[in-house]
């Protein structure tokens, strides 16, 4: 085992894994995490704790991950390249591992200009870091774990048990390059991969076919992203404005015509999970009930993903 995390163990056992998202609050409020943890408990195997997503200041992903652990949920700590240089990244990983965190998802992170949105002012004047990119971040953490060496070459004492994740936007532009980029992430050391939200099963299946042609599905565990839709407006917005998310017209129409759009959203999410499960090489799903954690149990249940498998305590 590289990390001994629950996620790693379940994947090693050949289970179809489920991960979900837990966004930290824009506050120091411990209760918010505790409440979300209650709603999400036993609905998935591990939970992505986002790192100042959309460049909005939130409780740090390390702290929120530790609170998650205290609530009995296994965190997948996300870490963006926007806010830390290689010194801070490695220092934070040592700290995270010391605090019991075993999974880390390495991502570029939204540009700081994203923070100004809706009523939020954000910090568009912030200086970004981008010392290294997510591929070199993955490689650096692997080197820390497997070679016991910091990026600069100094030795690391002892073990750094870590299960390293990467993101994949299979339908992002330029689309014919996306499988190559996935291959680079895997070559760098990605143990698992979580994809951008999938709505267009046909196009996603095609991207997976290309990934399989390169044998990528055997070198890493690919978990397909599911963003639970709440309304036709949300689907339209994602189709037009969220990079790499493609929503078929028929799905938007179906949602617009639904009497109860939220219920239809749940039905769509469940169908997507069932269809995605059939695609060869998919090892699990990453479900994002964006600010709608209370629906997670219903979705996991209806999709036949419950109960989640147990791991005997070591």
């Amino acid at each position: 085992m590289k990390s001994g995390s629950r996620l790693e163990q379940l994947l090693a056992r050949g289970e179809f894994v489920v991960t979900a998202e837990l966004g930290p609050p824009m506050s120091a409020d411990v209760e918010v995490i505790a409440k979300k943890a209650e709603l999400l408990r036993h609905t998935a195997d591990a939970f992505n704790v986002t790192d100042n997503q959309t460049a909005v200041v939130r409780m740090s992903s390390i702290a929120a991950s530790v609170l998650c652990l205290k609530s009995g949920l296994e965190p997948i700590m996300q870490m963006v390249c926007r806010d830390r240089n290689r010194i801070a990244m490695q220092s934070d990983i040592l700290g995270a591992v010391a605090l019991g965190i075993r999974n880390c998802l390495c991502i570029s992170g939204d540009h700081q200009s994203f923070g100004r949105a809706g009523k939020l002012l954000g910090h568009p004047g912030a200086k970004n870091v981008y010392d290294i990119d997510s591929i070199n971040q993955i490689r650096m953490f692997r080197q820390l774990r497997d070679e016991g060496k910091f990026q600069g070459g100094d030795p690391v004492k002892g073990q750094v048990p870590l299960f390293i994740g990467a993101a994949w936007t299979p339908l992002g532009d330029p689309v014919d390059f996306r499988v190559i980029r996935l291959g680079k992430k895997i070559a760098a050391g990605a143990d698992f991969v979580q994809t951008q939200g999938v709505y267009d099963i046909e196009r996603f299946a095609d991207a997976m076919k290309k990934a399989r042609a390169e044998g990528l599905h055997e070198k890493t565990a690919i978990l397909a992203g599911i963003i639970v839709p709440k309304s036709a407006g949300m689907l339209k917005y994602m189709n037009n404005s969220v990079a790499g998310v493609s929503v078929p017209e028929a799905l938007i129409r179906r949602m617009s015509e639904a009497a109860d759009q939220k219920a239809e959203g749940v039905a769509i999410a469940v169908e997507l999970i069932r269809d995605i499960r059939k695609i060869e090489g998919i090892r699990g799903v990453h479900i994002q009930p964006v600010e709608w954690e209370s629906i997670m149990r219903t979705i996991s249940d209806k999709a036949g993903l419950l109960p989640r498998p147990e791991i005997p305590d070591a």
Binding site: C81, R82, R86, I107, S108, D110, H111, S113, F114, N128, Y130, D131, I132, D133, S134, I135, N136, R139, M140, Q151, A167, T169, G172, D173, P174, F177, I180, R181, G183, K184, A187, A188, Q196, A243, G244
Partner: protein, 222 residues
């Protein structure tokens, strides 16, 4: 070239208000090319200041000079007598020119009239675009002659990130995705396979991160 943009007139006026003898010093090189600090712009700014200050009780004298390359000490010399007779210098060269003036005239207050913005090119008749970040370790051979350090909003070496869409950057539709361009050009040049190589993380000590840089050319000794 170094691309710069004039500061708002109101900001310049506020900074220069305390002086009665001011010289507007332009530069005939980069900033003239981007219509920010050449002879024409010196004349324009000097006229604007004369009009703005004409309402003042005490008259303000606005002199003008234009130096071929304000960043070159010896090229400042022909104007030095005229400059030394002033109370303040308003330089509309790039930041290098402004500092050269400050160094040459230690007793004179020197003010920047421009915001130095980037190293770039005159891409379209009305548009200049950033091209180089001066990182001190060129990677253009690896990226088909398109710089990801300067032209990708995240300076990614193995991009594009998940935010790219329709060839545009996530920051703005006005910014082309540098990596979309790199992928396209690598493909055209028959170097698509090279995209599979991981470009290792950059050592920034050759860039500004290593501290202020200097270059020594022994052979340039007189």
């Amino acid at each position: 070239m170094i691309v710069a943009q004039r500061k708002p007139l109101s900001e310049i006026i506020t900074k220069m208000e305390a002086y009665k003898k001011i010289i507007v010093a332009g530069c005939e090189t980069c900033v003239a090319e981007c219509h920010a600090g050449g002879r024409k712009e010196v004349e324009l700014l000097a006229s604007q200041l004369r009009i703005a200050f004409s309402q003042k009780m005490a008259p303000v004298e606005i002199a003008e000079c234009c130096i071929e390359r304000q960043c070159e000490p010896e090229m400042i010399e022909p104007c030095s007598e005229q400059i030394m007779a002033q109370e303040a210098v308003l330089s509309i060269a790039c930041g290098i020119g402004v500092q050269q003036m400050a160094e040459r005239f230690p007793n004179l207050p020197v003010f920047p009239g421009l915001n130095t913005t980037f190293l770039g090119t005159h891409a379209k008749p009305t548009q200049w675009e950033e091209r180089c970040a001066g990182c001190g370790n060129c990677v253009l051979d690896l990226t088909a002659g398109i710089c990801p350090i300067a032209r990708c909003s995240k300076s990614l070496l193995n991009g594009p990130c998940g935010g790219a869409q329709d060839g545009k950057c996530e920051v703005s539709d006005d910014i082309p995705c540098a990596w979309a361009e790199i992928v396209e050009r690598m493909t055209k040049c028959g170097k698509r396979d090279q995209l599979r190589q991981i470009i290792p993380c950059k050592e920034w000590n050759t860039a500004r991160d290593g501290g202020p840089r200097r270059l020594i050319h022994e052979e340039a000794a007189p």
